[in-house]
């Protein structure tokens, strides 16, 4: 018997190694399902999932939608630009409305950090954070860990370099919590303007020189330059960024010869990652996409019971 023992998945922070391992182990069972001709199981028949995205997203929303459908739930996509939110409805009213449809899971992405936590407090449904502001993106970190495990069998002791806009990246934050909980040695490589001031926790090396930081790395995790989240003043130009922080083949050679290259997508080819690196055999970027569905199935399955035993 197993469950995550929590109603919601709001972030990796606070999750234990056992909980993370349970998700990864469960995900490999679902990955087998995705390899079959019939890629669907009846596990959550009759449940309803609401995809509530306040920020544009194609891949995460699609990934969650596929995951939910392959567990046999009914999925409703609530896209904000066409909804009443733009007509002035408050968040709480939106949630109350959604709940009236009898929803079991709310998958939420929002530009403001903490919105999923707020909704979780006001809803009986299980809330899954699909990215909140610059805070966390837990399922991305879980699928990244799953992908690393497939290549490296264990995470304990691996040298993992996260490169780029750490400050604005919820992917980086969730990954830092997740990988450190699993025992990896995490290093950050970024221009000083992209390093959060509170990050100097013990055990996290910060490198401002990319060649130096990549030395001996087992995993290189590139981040997307997030122009939409920058108020300006962080970057002189994308040319300069790619010259100092872009992953080129020469720089990739600084890392361990068996290193894998990851990117959460969508990529800015030629800026944070050279095209030839993105298509290199060491790149596992498309595997990340495939694994995303299996990992999200595992999370939805393990959160399982949204309502404490309806009488």
């Amino acid at each position: 018997m197993s469950s995550l023992g929590q109603k919601d998945l709001l972030g990796i922070r606070g999750m234990t190694r056992e909980q993370i391992s349970l998700v990864l182990e469960t995900a490999s069972g679902f990955k087998d399902v995705l390899k079959r001709d019939i890629k669907k199981v009846p596990a959550l028949r009759g449940r309803t999932v609401f995809n509530l995205f306040f920020e544009p997203s194609t891949r995460t929303r699609t990934s969650f939608e596929l995951a939910a459908k392959r567990l046999s739930t009914d999925v409703v996509n609530f896209s904000v630009p066409t909804s009443s939110v733009v007509k002035g409805e408050s968040l709480l009213d939106t949630i109350a409305t959604i709940e009236s449809y009898g929803v079991d899971y709310i998958i939420i992405r929002h530009a403001s950090s903490g919105v999923p936590h707020f909704i979780a407090q006001h809803s009986d449904a299980s809330v899954l954070n699909a990215g909140d502001g610059i805070n966390e993106h837990p399922t991305q970190a879980l699928l990244d860990a799953f992908t690393i495990m497939e290549h490296k069998t264990q995470i304990e002791g691996l040298k993992i370099a996260i490169v780029g806009d750490i400050l604005h990246s919820r992917v980086a934050k969730s990954n830092i919590y997740c990988l450190r909980e699993l025992g990896a040695e995490v290093r950050l490589i970024a221009p000083p303007t992209f390093v959060p001031s509170h990050i100097n926790e013990e055990g996290i090396d910060i490198h401002y020189d990319m060649d130096e930081g990549l030395k001996g790395a087992d995993v290189i995790m590139m981040l997307r330059i997030q122009r939409e989240r920058q108020g300006g003043g962080f970057l002189p130009s994308s040319d300069e960024y790619s010259r100092f922080w872009g992953l080129t083949r020469e720089r990739l050679n600084m890392a361990d010869p068996e290193a894998i290259v990851m990117h959460p997508g969508p990529m800015n080819r030629g800026i944070e990652i050279a095209s030839e690196v993105a298509d290199d055999e060491r790149s596992v970027i498309l595997e990340q996409v495939t694994n995303g569905v299996a990992v999200r199935m595992a999370v939805i399955y393990l959160l399982g019971r949204s309502k404490e035993k309806e009488q």
Binding site: S2, E25, V41, Y301
Partner: protein
């Protein structure tokens, strides 16, 4: 819990498995096109043993797969905890084959219903047969076993535990009684 009672010991288990192996061969006139699929977890050990035994008798290897039925259970809605997902590994084609589902304890029949649904999502066997080590009765669905090692009438508040040496270092079948439950 009162003291557990040993229903079958190591040699009882061996004899039961041996007899089932003979019956499978007899029933199917050999083991061409026969494969064994064990339901996680006890059924998996038993399927492997049946395969070894059939090999001894017939000199022919029978393929063994494993099936996890957690995603197909009908009680996911009423349980507090989700069952752990274990490995489904059927590395051969089951289309047109005689698939023998193998489980350790046959009780309500609900696991077998789930297993048949899971199997149908993998392929379309010509025939599905069911082999169990212990049939303890209390069926809730119209399902019966083609091969049963031993019929043991039980009451609903008893539990039957099949222990395999692969897991616990010894082979035995134990009856436990839980008091004041259900």
């Amino acid at each position: 819990m009162t003291d557990p009672k040993i229903l079958l010991d190591k040699s009882d288990m061996e004899r039961a498995i041996s007899r089932i192996a003979h019956e499978i061969i007899e029933n199917n006139k050999g083991v061409v096109d026969v494969c064994l699929i064990g339901i996680q977890r006890g059924g998996v050990h038993m399927a492997r043993r049946l395969s070894d035994r059939i090999d001894l008798i017939e000199g022919q290897k029978v393929q063994v797969g494993t099936l996890d039925i957690a995603m197909y259970r009908d009680d996911l809605d009423i349980r507090d905890e989700q069952p752990r997902i274990r490995r489904t590994d059927v590395p051969f084609d089951i289309n047109g084959k005689v698939v023998i589902l193998v489980d350790d304890v046959f009780f309500t029949g609900r696991s077998i219903r789930a297993a048949m649904d899971a199997l149908m999502d993998i392929g379309r066997p010509a025939v599905i047969q069911l082999a169990v080590l212990i049939d303890r009765g209390h069926r809730e669905l119209p399902i019966r076993a083609d091969y049963a090692g031993k019929n043991i009438p039980t009451s609903k508040n008893e539990t039957i535990e099949v222990v395999f040496k692969e897991d616990a270092g010894k082979d035995e079948v134990i009856l436990k009684r839980s008091e004041g439950e259900e």
